[in-house]
């Protein structure tokens, strides 16, 4: 078993509304798994089912090879999108309470909290009330509480919302470090640039159905269009462009580069290799720029959602 979490044909309806329709995902151990989808696609419902907040109508969920059971809440750390803490409770007291609810002993929770508070340099907040902290500060506390009990599975729903770029980076590094220490991360977001940065695997949920999943690189390969960004310099550019257009499919290109006369997106067919294209271009003009257009997660997201 290499998958930490397996959801098998999970369905859930609320009245007449089907929130999830036979969704299956497999989250490999030690990966960062991006759970993507537009608003209202059913991501939160799936996450709540994994957290045993909601019970699925059909389908099974397994954690580490066992069907989900109440004891598993110790193994999961969940940072919901709708964040909040008891406003009038003191930071330290509240963190201890939440840690104990996750099954930690008080003394263990205290020493772990000290480690994290020192690490994030927030030790002097211990006796402050949440309402005295800023929103970002409160989110830091919530992050610590989520990861404190060293869960096998971490679920972050939009973890960076509300953070400034510096703190968002800090949290991103912590997430990567937790992954390196062996945790598996499910990461739900609309922010595709963080998906590119962090995720190894993704699943895309749209209108209650899973429409795409796999390794991010595999998916990108699957979505490659064999298109190359080309920047050329030549004395008689018009004839060069005409010759290229004659042989290949050419699209207008807008990439930033230093003084290239000719900027083109050139699409080649299956039988042509990139080397063929490059040597053809080199014979006509000076090649300054030659890059394969790799579809971004954003492109894939928009394209897939639109096609469905």
């Amino acid at each position: 078993m290499n998958d930490l979490l397996v959801a098998d044909s999970v369905s859930k309806s609320f009245g007449n509304f089907k929130a999830l329709n036979e969704v299956s995902i497999a989250v490999p151990k030690g990966s960062i798994f991006g759970l993507l989808g537009p608003n209202g696609a059913g991501k939160t419902t799936l996450i709540r089912i994994i957290n045993q907040i909601t019970i699925p109508d059909e389908g099974k969920v397994q954690l580490d090879g066992q069907p989900l059971k109440p004891e598993h809440i110790r193994d999961i750390g969940y940072l919901p999108e709708e964040r909040g803490l008891y406003k009038s409770m003191k930071v330290g007291e509240q963190a201890l309470y939440l840690a104990q609810l996750k099954g930690m002993s008080k003394s263990e929770a205290r020493s772990r909290l000290k480690y994290w508070f020192d690490k994030l340099d927030i030790g002097d907040w211990w006796n402050k009330k949440i309402q005295e902290l800023s929103k970002g500060q409160a989110q830091k506390i919530q992050f610590v509480v989520t990861v404190l009990h060293r869960p096998k599975l971490l679920i972050f729903d939009e973890p960076f919302s509300g953070f400034d770029p510096i703190n968002a980076n800090l949290i991103k590094d912590e997430i990567l470090q937790l992954r390196d220490e062996g945790a598996t991360v499910i990461f739900s977001t609309h922010r595709m640039e963080s998906v590119e940065e962090l995720c190894d695997h993704i699943a895309l949920i749209h209108k209650s159905n899973k429409i795409l999943d796999g390794k991010l690189n595999d998916i990108k390969r699957q979505y490659r269009t064999n298109t190359f960004e080309v920047g050329l310099q030549s004395a008689n550019s018009d004839s060069v462009i005409a010759e290229i257009k004659n042989k290949f499919e050419v699209l207008p290109a807008t990439f930033k580069n230093l003084n290239d006369d000719i900027k083109l997106n050139v699409k080649i067919d299956e039988s042509t290799s990139s080397n063929d294209l490059l040597s053809f271009l080199a014979s006509k003009a000076e090649v300054n720029h030659f890059v394969e257009v790799i579809p971004t997660a954003n492109d894939i997201f928009i394209q897939t959602v639109k096609n469905n």
């Binding site: 907040i53 999961i76 919901p80 709708e82 909040g84 104990q100 609810l101 996750k102």
Partner: protein, 437 residues
């Protein structure tokens, strides 16, 4: 995993440390005692007020009717005209003038009596005067028909029926009053407790919703556990507050009494006497004696056990409903539409308790309402001092426990769905749908 003790502890500590809770705990008895002291002081002032009533009796029938009492002096005028008398009363700032017109016969007197005063006279003064005149006129009319005064005195009878049930237990009206006080106190205490702390539970559920911590919490504990923890923790805080109120209230009562020199206890016995007098009983010592006997005859053990069970059962039943309401809405203003169905049976219970149980503790209405679960805790607690067969108590309690379990199931369902629902105010129809999620 059982997190219940942990949740109870947090709920309790949060409530007890809350500033407004602390202020209320210590301020409420102060305010209450201050109010009682002011009322007591004022009514004492009122009682001490001396009044002078001037009497101008032109008929001559009502001589010697009015004897001076502690607070009222009667001033009989003779050979004054009405105008002169009024002027005199005005000048001397007397309480008022009682005027009886000149009449031809005894039968006409009753229609010819007037009372003149600056302000509307107090009801008790007027009814006191009326009583005296009625008695005198009745005596005079009887005498005119040839009945002697001795015969009239002889005919006056006081009745005090001795009540005894088939097992030979006697009871008395005094005893009934004691029972009423005990039953009423128990029922009223439960009523207050439900309203105050039920609301507190509801608010704390809403707070968890609005602060959005709820999702973190229920990813660690079952909603039912959280709900029960809340109810129990808040109740314990409530019991603490109540205990402090009782102790503090008692101490303050004594202190204030000493300072203001008001015998509050005497005032209470005075009130008791008023009730008893209204029931036309006689002999104060006998009354007190009967009251003590009745107190000793109260089914104390039954009362205590029933109080504990019905109190807990009733309170938990209502508080789980309060928790469900808290879960169903986003903010306190939205709770109104759901409060009515909770408050209706509660208020109905108190009304039935106050009006019907006093009238007839074992009548159909009282009996039926002491079985209906939403009203049974209050009504049954009021009935028990009058002696309720054990099978009725047990049946009612079983019904209550059954309903309580259903209510917890129902509330937990609403709670589980509701705490994650934001934005819209649910209708009853939607709540019903939630049961099936």
């Amino acid at each position: 995993m059982n997190h219940l003790p942990l949740i109870i502890k947090r709920e309790y500590l949060t409530k007890v440390r809350n500033k407004s809770f602390i202020i209320m705990t210590f301020l409420s008895p102060l305010i209450m005692i201050a109010l009682i002291a002011v009322v007591a002081y004022l009514s004492q002032l009122n009682n001490d007020k001396k009044r002078t009533i001037t009497v101008l009796d032109e008929s001559g029938y009502l001589k010697d009717v009015f004897q001076n009492t502690e607070n009222t002096t009667y001033n009989n005028l003779e050979d004054f005209s009405l105008e002169e008398a009024v002027a005199l009363v005005k000048k001397t700032e007397g309480y008022g003038l009682l005027y009886v017109e000149k009449v031809d016969s005894l039968n006409e007197v009753s229609d010819k009596i007037k009372f003149y005063s600056e302000e509307t006279p107090s009801l008790s003064v007027i009814s006191g005067i009326e009583g005296r005149i009625e008695r005198r006129l009745k005596e005079m009319k009887l005498q005119k028909d040839g009945v002697s005064m001795a015969m009239i005195r002889n005919a006056e009878t006081k009745i005090n029926i001795v009540q005894e049930n088939y097992e030979g237990k006697t009871s008395s009206k005094e005893g009934n009053i004691v029972k009423l006080i005990f039953g009423g106190l128990a029922g009223y205490l439960l009523f207050m407790f439900i309203i105050i702390y039920g609301n507190m539970i509801m608010r704390s559920v809403i707070e968890e919703k609005t602060s959005r911590i709820i999702e973190v919490i229920i990813s660690s504990v079952k909603p039912v556990q959280l709900m029960l923890g809340k109810i129990i923790g808040t109740s314990l805080a409530g019991i603490t507050q109540f205990a402090i109120w009782v102790v503090l209230g008692g101490v303050l009562m004594v202190v204030v009494g000493l300072i203001l020199d008001i015998d509050l206890l005497a005032m209470q016995t005075q009130q008791l006497e008023v009730i008893q007098q209204s029931l036309e009983t006689s002999g104060i010592n006998k009354e007190v004696g009967e009251a003590i006997v009745a107190f000793q005859n109260l089914p104390i053990l039954n009362l205590v056990i029933a109080f504990i069970f019905f109190f807990i059962g009733g309170y938990l039943l209502y508080s789980s409903l309060y928790a469900a309401i808290g879960a169903a809405v986003d903010n306190e203003t939205d709770t109104q539409q759901f409060m009515l169905p909770i408050l209706m049976p509660l208020i109905l219970a108190v009304y039935v308790g106050v009006f019907t149980v006093i009238e007839d503790p074992h009548g159909t209405v009282s009996t039926v309402f002491s079985f209906i679960p939403l009203t049974s805790p209050v009504v049954m607690l009021m009935r028990i001092p009058f002696g309720v067969p054990p099978w009725q108590q047990i049946l009612s309690l079983l019904l209550l426990i059954g309903t309580f379990m259903f209510a917890v199931w129902f509330a937990a369902k609403i709670y589980r769905v509701g705490i994650l629902m934001y934005g819209k105010k649910p209708t009853y129809k939607e709540l019903f749908k939630w049961l099936k999620y």
